[in-house]
Structures are given as structure tokens and as C-alpha cells.
Symmetry: C3
Subunit: 443 residues, 3 copies
């Protein structure tokens, strides 16, 4: 499943993402409960995680942390005790957050609690009922059609009790306390693209980030959807000023191209750099405007926060038929696609780090490059003429008001080449880093 | 002449616009005189009007109210006393504002005072000379060709005497003193599109407005062209700050599509909402940039006022051959076209009223719609999914800085649906109306 | 060589540009030395010039004025004393700024000091080494191929001694001290397009400018490339606030269309008017964005100055094969092309002068044009209807915030017609000139 270009070292934490996804796949996750904890246990083996437990009943802005849900067993059995539907065969068989039940009922009475997909008769749908007390089973349509009339034992051995909601986070401090947030949801049970792909890419991204110098601080959030991101926002409500923005990562392993959904701000540096990174990445990609419909970006972009958080995915949710069904299994995602998404995230981070403001220390005319040995200097990313042009652009534009990405856009030169030229000029004493203008700074 | 969809109740004031136009058609109007008063008399039977009389000689900015013109009779008669041309057959036969004359002259001498349209030999042209003392006759070219050489009695029984200029206005107060002005010119004699159509649509619009709740105040102006709008501006020069903007209505009954001419400001809320209303209206339409050539919008948009007043018409003046001729008669306009223009005005008003600024009272994340019974709520204008999306957009965008029209443009959802969503959210205590930002407010 | 439309009076200073170029062509110029002085001597016969001599060793921002270079003779001679290559046949034969040498060496040893153009074997390349001490010869590739192995006398009789760098400038004062700078480089030896064309057009432009009224002050700069413009900037560093902007003139005689390269500001009034002047000029033209690569515009546009200085040329340097070779000779440029460039510069100046800010003194509605005899007035550049429209546009837009070029862009009317309308209205007391807004003013 890993492409030939992917370095795979057995047992090494960075050894591809499919092995990690394969380990996480069987766990029955929900917005609360031991499934999330088991997931974070495994991730904790890959990267040092901090955990938060927020007790049931806690008021989180307009919401309340619900009772914790844990499930041990569930089945529909016939008169002989034979399990026709068994939670242990697929955890999607149970309506997520089902209340417990243990009774005998007719097929007809059971029908009101059964969800199928007639248009995809061999797929189990994924259904939830977090805030309305209900119970239910999700079956393939073929399974349901194969159950004759009669009475059946219907059992869901689950708890809904005071407990907690569990969050995982990783903070990688950088030179600045200004931070970039990457968020992914950990509440979905056995589906790979939604959202083990997001979990895997986020984990590998932060392993990579942990080994490189960082101008910004970076925060990974492993959160249950909606209530989880709201909980993190609530816990951190007094320090959100330090968040410059970030990305929600989800749906990154399917066969489609990359899709960037812009933040509510639409033209923040996050939005500009994410689009630039995808455009330069060589993969098919598209971008879409913000809408308040989707994943946790809708919480980060709510008017009370208005953080510059976009979303990176491949095929957007709801636009592929495997979405929210048992067909979103291990074969639906591939190492190649996951690696492509990881590289896009890495390029985005590299651009963020490179996108400094610089000021020319010798601004009256072009400084004499020749006497500094820079006239025919070579950058790693370009020939001498291109590198000289990059130096001239940086010298000309470095008035402290324009980040490197502006120079890239205007000059048509790459972020890499310009950043390299800036570093070279800084070493020669010709440029110095400048603070971002107040309008772009968070703290 | 009324289309099948138009409700026609004999004698009811709202019974279509053609009957009103038919009553107004025979009157000889000018920029002053009894024709305007007779017109306002008839309109006063439809809607309560206030009248102003501004005496001749009054200085109105750079202009002076001219002497009042009234005409009783005019003709060209042959030696036998037979009237070859008779004002009582068509009031366009006399150069509007002609000085009186009663003499006998040769056809050759008369020629200098005769206006015809050789390219449309059966149409009488419309000509005026308000500020230069002249007299003249307007004939069809065929009539003029049919008059043999010889001497003719030429008589114009008219006065140019100290009097007044007459304005009519209607004020419909709303919650706010900020007002929207609709202006139409009442100085043209027997022509239907220019401008009985504007007069009829304005009157029906204000009858409709008088029966609906109003956030803004609305003012209808029935004014002679140029000098009339200037007179109203002069009378109201100390309170123009309360005018948010408005529309000049003219030429609304011809067979062409609707044309919106933007105000000098080009991108005021008036301009944006007028364009949006026409775009949503389903009729053919176009918009044009401002130019200081046209009807009274050139006065409202003069730099000393710079009011956001655009112009709504069908085929712009001068772009149809019937313009300013006797061919602009009762058959040139139709109830269907007038009703379409009225509906466009009504939609513009509805959009103005709906285009509020809202502020989210629960801005930290999405509020929990489910616990308020709003998750599957239905709006009158859309299904549950679309209505939920409209609520999410309003919640996300309601930071007090964006009117509903901005949300409509960004979301692609309709003004109606978004306004309905906002009202629903306001009833649930989630949104509150906000003042327009200072840059958009007039008082 | 002069086209039939060019008025040619023998001996008159304005008699075409080719005669001037022909006189300047033989002189061996460099960034310092007597070649520049001889050039300024000839130009001083055309227009009154002021000269500056800046001593070698003077620090000019990041640069230092180099030793002065003067050359008397140079050749490569065979054993018999026959000159195979002779500086007196073409001054491009010597690497500009060569150190002196007089020795005998083998062809093989000489090869390291010889520059040719194998792809254009009959052209001598132009090469310089101002800041690295070197010597060298430039030959046609055919010449070099024709020199057999053997020993040769190699002689360059040149000085590099303390001296000065020479600048020429012309100031034509106007009503305002705000000045427009036209700059051209005078450091290139015998090449016509680069840059005798720039020198000739600049000289004729200022002769023309000296005879017309001037709202702005105009300054012509005849400067050696890079170090010369930097020297002028350094000498004037305390008064650069008075420079509104300007143009670098170079490469104006080749057969290509006109090319405007925008200043770093990209949308200054200089940039807008230069583009408008070229668009209205009727010649093929294009514009390009700024880049910090090129001629002296890169110095004027450095961040420490950021003057709105664009560049006017025909085919941009490096995009024609004759560039920087002996093929850039008298036949490569033509009077017709030079005259076209001169007309473009004149139109640009006319637009600059016309691009005033005006304020309407009767802003409350349209003033009554009829009572001032302006209703049917005729402008020189348009019929009565077009002239009236131009007056209406000027009256409407004249709020003191919009230059005439904005009105031209918005109305589609020409700068000439609008400027004429403004003057007519000013004579009638309806408009008055206004100061440019602070954001557009330099002092």
C-alpha cells in the first residue's frame, strides 16, 4: 500500500501512515468515551500528547458536555440466539451514542430503529444521535432484506453516564508565542478517510515539525467534532489572541485532488500561503470559499473567535459516495495520497516560516553586491542569474511592510528562492528581519 | 391592456396603471403652470399629496424660477380661417414655453419657427424653450409638406407671467427618519412613456408602501425636470443629511427590459440593492455606470449633494425612436411592462428594508440550534437544509459590520431566505439588529 | 533618414535627432572620463546644461566613485607591427575600463582576455569591468578566428587615475517647485539605441519644454548608469521630497513598439498618465510591471527613495539581438522611431500638466450653462455635444479629490477635451484649481 518512493522502516514511528491507520481502524470512537482514550493511547506512542478531560455537565459556551458513552456489546439475534447483526463485526452497526436496550421485538417494530442505504445495499451507514436520546442499528440494506418477519432479541450494552470529554493536544514551542493550530476530529468510529487520515497526517506532520527549527509555535489538536473544538476554544478563551490561524485536517487519503477551503477571513496569510503551497505542490488542487457548513473550521471561524482557520482535505465530504459508510475502509485510502497531503502540509509550514517581513539596511539605491562577493552568488534553488534577481527583489521590496509571499506573488519567483536570498542578504548585513505590521500580528 | 395576472377592480385606486395614464394623457404639462396642478389634482385622488408653490423669480441655487407659462389656444390657420394645425388636437404642436404671438406671415417666414422630423414624417416632435424666449410650432413632416406657399394666421394664446413652480410630494414616515427618495418628472405634456409611466409607477408604489411597515421613511417627489428637483433640493437643503438615497423613475412602460443607471457613488447600498433586485427579478435587465447626462439624477448626484440616487427605466431615453415624439402615445406603453417595473421597485424596497445589520448574541462557536428546536426548522422560502444553511450564514456573518445583502452575495442565498433566517434567530434570542456602521449611516 | 513629416532646418537645434546622434556616435564614453565631457560639450550646444564633477573616492551611499578612466589607444598587432585590432576603428574593441597593458603574448595567453559572440560572428560585443580590475579586447568572432597562432603585441594605453565622475543636468523651473525628472544614461560608447537614442530624445524634449508654460518644474539628468544616478540622488538627498516622479529614457530608436515599465509604486500618477499617453498615442505599445532589474529606474525606485520613476523604451534591452553589440549602429535607429518616442514623451508631459484637481464653485446642482453662453459652446477638440458632456463631467466630478485623468478614465472622454472643458468652466467662474490631496502631493 505504500508507494515505492516512501521510505518504510519497520517499527520506526515515521514509517508511513497506513500502519498507524490500520492500528486505529478497529476502535469504536465517539465524541466521548474510551474509544477516544484508546486512540490517544496509540498516538501517544508516536508523539508526546497532553490530555484534557472535561467533565460531563460542564457548560461550554452555548453547549454542555454530554454524559460519557461507552459500549461493550450490541447485537440483533434470532430466536435461536444466533447473532444476525453483531457490533463486534463492525462498530458502525450501532447508532453512535445509542441508549442501552435489551428486549425482544418484532421485525416490524425494529424497523423504526434501523438505518440502511437502499442505494448502496452492501454498505453500512454511519449515524449518530448525540443530543437526542435514541437507540438504533445500522445495517446493510441486503442484511435488513435478509431478515425475515418474526421476533428478535435486540441488545445494546452501553452506558450514558457522567464522565468526561477527552481532548489530546501537542504544543511545539517556537521562537514566538504566536501559534499555528492544526486540528483534526477523533470522534469517528471505523472509517479511514473520515477521519483516520486526518489523525495520521497530523501526527506525522508534528513528528516532522518537532525536529525542525520553528519561528512560530505549533499546536496539534485531536478533538471530537464540534463539542471538542468548542471545548478547546473554551479552555483557551483568554489566550486566543496568540493564535495566528491554522488548518483543519480531514479526509486526506481518498483518491481525489487536494481541496483548500478558505477561512472566514478569506484573505488571511493562512489563506494566501495555503493556496500558494498547493499551487506550487504539483498535485491537482482547488480552493473554495468559506462557508459556515463543514467541520470544525465553522467553530474556529465563528464571529466570537474569527480565527484564520481554513480546511485541507481531498474530495470534500459528501462529494464521494463512500462518505460516512462502511465503504470508507482501509482500501479507500492509500499511503500515496496520505503522503501527498503530508507534503502539502509541510510546504504550507515551510512557507509560513519563510514568510517573514524584512527591512533593507542599505535602502538608498542598490547596495554594491560585487564588493560583498554576492554578484555571482549561487542559491541552492536557482542559478546565479535567478538568485541575483531574487536578491534584487528582496532588496527592493524590503521596506518592512511586505512579507516574502507578497514578493513571490509580484516577482513570480518561488518562496524558497526568495527566502534563501533574504537569508543570504541578512548574513551580509543588508537585510534584517522586521516585525509583522500591527494589522498582521496577533500578539 | 392589462395582462391576465393583474387584478383589476373597477374604480379601486390600485386598479392598474393604464387607466391613470389614460386620464393624465390629455393634459398639457410644462415646468410651470396649470397643467402640473391638474396632474397633481388627479394624483391627489389616488394618494395624499403635499404641494409646494415656489414663486417666479425665486433664486434656487444657480437658477431662477421662471415666469409661469399657461396656454389656452394655438393654431395655424389659412386665409379662410380653417385651422391647419390646432393645439387642441395635440398639445405637442406648440413649442413648450412659447411666447404669445398673433400675426399673419408667409409660409417661408413661418418656416423658421417650425419643427418637424423628416425621418419620421408622421410624428410630431416635442420641443421646449424654457430659458430662451421663443415661439414655435411642431408638426408632422407630412403636415408641413402639405401646407402650400401663402400667408397664414399664426396664433399662440399663452401667458408668461409671474406665478409659481409647483411640486408635489408624499412622505410616508417609517421607524427611522432616514429617508429614501423616489423622484419622477411631471413637466412633459402628452407623452406616455416619458413620463406618465414614471408618474403612474411612483403613485402605485407609494400606495403599496403606505400599507406596509416601514423601517425607513419614504418620500415621493413629483417635480418638473431640473428646475423642479433643484427647487426641492433647495427647499430641503438643511436636511439632506437624512436622505440615504433613492431612485429617479422614468420611462417604465415601453417594451424594453429594465435598465438601472448607477448613482455617482457607483457602489452605494442603493446601487447594490437595485442591481440585486433586478438580478433576482427574472426580467431582462442591465445596469450602466453613472454619467452626468440624463434626468434628475444629475441634480441629486451633483457634488454639492452627492446623494446616492440612481435611475430606473426601461429603454434609456434617446435609444428608442418614439422618444420625445407623438409616437410615445397610449399604445406605446403597456400594463404588463408597468407592472413589471412596479414589481422591481417593490422588490428594491423589500431588499432595502431587509438589508439590516445584525449582531450574533452567542458568537462563541455555533449556538446549539437543536435545543431551541431550530435544527430542522422550516423557512417559508426554503426547505429545512437551505433554511439551516441560511441560519448558519447569518450566525457566522452577524458581527454588526455586514448587511444582509453582503451575506446574500457571499453565500449565494436569497435576501428573502436570509432575512427570514435572521428574524427566526432574533426570535430565538440569538441575533439582534445593529445600527448601520457610521460610514453607511446618514443620521 | 528623416521622414517626410519631420521639419528639417539645416543647422537649427531642433532639426531631427539623427544628426545629433551622428555627431555623438564616434565618442568613446564610459562611466567617467573625457568621453562623457565631450558628449556634454555637444549637448551644451543644444541646451543650457549644468555640470557636476564628483571626485574619485567620494562615498556615495553604499558605493565609491571609482578612479577616472581615459583611453588614448589600444591594439593587437602582429610581429610586423600591423594592427589586427585597432581601438580607433571601433571603441567597442576594448573592454570598457580596461587597466593599461603593453606586452607581447601568445594567442593562447591572449584568449583569456578576448570576448567574442560566436552566435553573431560579425558583431563586436560590448563588455565592461568597472569595479574589478581587468583588461580585455572585444572582437568579432570572425576576426578572432582569423588570427593565427603566434605572439602578438597587446597594448592598451589607458589611465585609471584620481579624477571625477561627470553629470549633466538641466532644470526648467515651473510654477511649482514640485519636479518631474527625466533621466538617461551617458556611459555607453558607440551604440545608438543604447543610448544615444535616449540622449537625443531627452534633449529635444527639453528644448520643447523650455518653450512652453510649465506647471511643474522639469529636470533632465544625463548620468552614467547606476553610479551616476546614485550620485545625483546623493547630491540631492535632502530635497528628493520635491520629486513627484519621472521617466528613465533609453532604447527609443529601434524598430519596435513603445514599452512602458511601471515604477515600483505601480499605480502612481506617473504610471497612470504614462500608460494613458501611450494608449492615446496611436502607436503599438505595451506596459510591463516593475522589476528591480533594468536601468536607473532600479535606483530611483530603491526603498530608500521609492520615487515614482518608470521607464520608457521601445524593445526592452536584451530582447533584440543587436543589444550591446556593434550592430547597434546608426542604421539600427531611425528618425521616425525617435520622433514617435519624442511625441509620446510630449503627450505624457501634456497629460501631467493637464491632470489638475478642480473644485466646482457652484456645486449644488448643475449650474445654468445657458445663461453663461456655454450651453452650445464649442471646444477645439470636440463638437458641441461632446464639449457639453465634457463640461458636465468636469462639473460633476470636480470635488477636489479627482484629477482630470480619473474623469477621463470614468467618462471615456479624452484628457484634452476634459482639460479644455475645465479651462472654459474656470473662465466662467464655475471651476477653480485645487491643490492635489496630501496623498498625491510631494511638497
Amino acid at each position: 500500500m505504500t508507494g515505492p518512493e516512501i521510505e518504510e522502516t519497520a517499527g520506526a514511528p515515521q514509517s508511513g501512515m497506513m500502519p498507524l491507520i490500520t492500528r486505529l481502524y478497529p476502535i469504536c470512537r465517539s465524541i466521548t468515551g474510551d474509544g477516544v482514550r484508546a486512540t490517544l493511547d496509540i498516538l501517544g506512542g508516536e508523539i508526546e500528547l497532553e490530555r484534557h478531560e472535561i467533565p460531563s455537565g460542564t457548560d461550554v459556551f452555548d453547549w454542555t458536555i454530554p454524559p460519557e458513552w461507552n459500549i461493550r456489546d450490541a447485537y440483533i439475534a434470532d430466536g435461536s440466539g444466533r447473532r444476525l447483526i453483531d457490533f463486534h463485526e463492525h462498530n458502525l452497526h450501532v447508532l453512535n451514542y445509542s441508549t442501552p436496550i435489551d428486549t425482544v421485538m418484532s421485525r416490524r417494530a425494529l424497523a423504526a430503529h434501523v438505518h440502511t442505504l437502499p442505494q448502496h445495499p452492501d454498505r453500512i451507514p454511519y449515524r449518530t444521535s448525540y443530543y437526542q436520546k435514541r437507540w438504533g442499528f445500522c445495517l446493510t440494506h441486503n442484511q435488513w432484506q435478509g431478515i425475515p418477519d418474526g421476533d428478535y432479541r435486540v441488545c445494546i450494552d452501553a452506558d450514558l453516564k457522567a464522565g468526561a470529554l477527552t481532548l489530546g493536544e501537542v504544543l511545539l514551542p517556537g521562537e514566538s508565542e504566536t501559534e499555528i493550530v492544526f486540528s483534526t476530529h477523533v470522534c469517528h468510529p471505523s472509517m479511514c478517510n473520515d477521519n483516520l487520515s486526518g489523525i495520521a497526517v497530523l501526527t506525522r506532520l508534528f513528528q516532522w515539525l518537532s525536529r525542525r527549527p520553528r519561528r512560530y509555535s505549533y499546536r496539534a489538536l485531536y478533538v471530537p467534532g464540534t463539542i471538542g473544538s468548542l471545548s478547546w476554544l473554551w479552555l483557551n478563551r483568554d489566550r486566543l489572541d496568540s493564535v495566528l490561524g491554522g488548518l483543519v485536517l480531514t479526509g486526506l487519503g481518498d483518491p481525489g485532488g487536494l481541496t483548500y477551503k478558505r477561512s472566514q477571513q478569506e484573505d488571511s496569510c493562512i489563506d494566501r500561503l495555503a493556496a500558494l503551497a498547493l499551487a506550487d505542490g504539483g498535485e491537482d488542487w482547488e480552493q473554495r470559499g468559506f462557508s459556515p457548513f463543514g467541520y470544525d473550521e465553522r467553530q474556529y471561524c465563528a464571529p466570537g473567535f474569527d480565527l484564520a482557520v481554513g480546511r485541507l482535505s481531498r474530495t470534500p465530504f459528501g462529494e464521494y459516495s463512500e462518505y460516512h459508510t462502511s465503504a470508507d475502509h482501509l482500501d479507500f485510502v492509500s499511503e500515496t495520497q496520505l503522503q501527498g497531503a503530508l507534503r502539502a502540509c509541510q510546504r504550507f509550514v515551510e512557507y509560513l516560516e519563510a514568510d517573514r517581513y524584512w527591512v533593507n539596511l542599505s535602502p538608498c539605491g542598490e547596495p554594491q553586491l560585487g564588493k560583498r562577493g554576492l554578484y555571482g552568488a549561487l542559491g541552492g534553488s536557482g542559478g546565479p542569474d535567478e538568485f541575483r534577481l531574487a536578491m534584487l527583489w528582496m532588496l527592493n521590496q524590503a521596506d518592512g511592510s511586505r512579507p516574502v509571499s507578497d514578493v513571490a506573488r509580484r516577482s513570480g519567483l518561488s518562496m524558497e528562492l526568495l527566502a534563501e536570498a533574504a537569508e543570504t542578504l541578512a548574513e551580509a548585513g543588508l537585510l534584517a528581519p522586521a516585525d509583522a505590521p500591527a494589522s498582521e500580528r496577533k500578539q
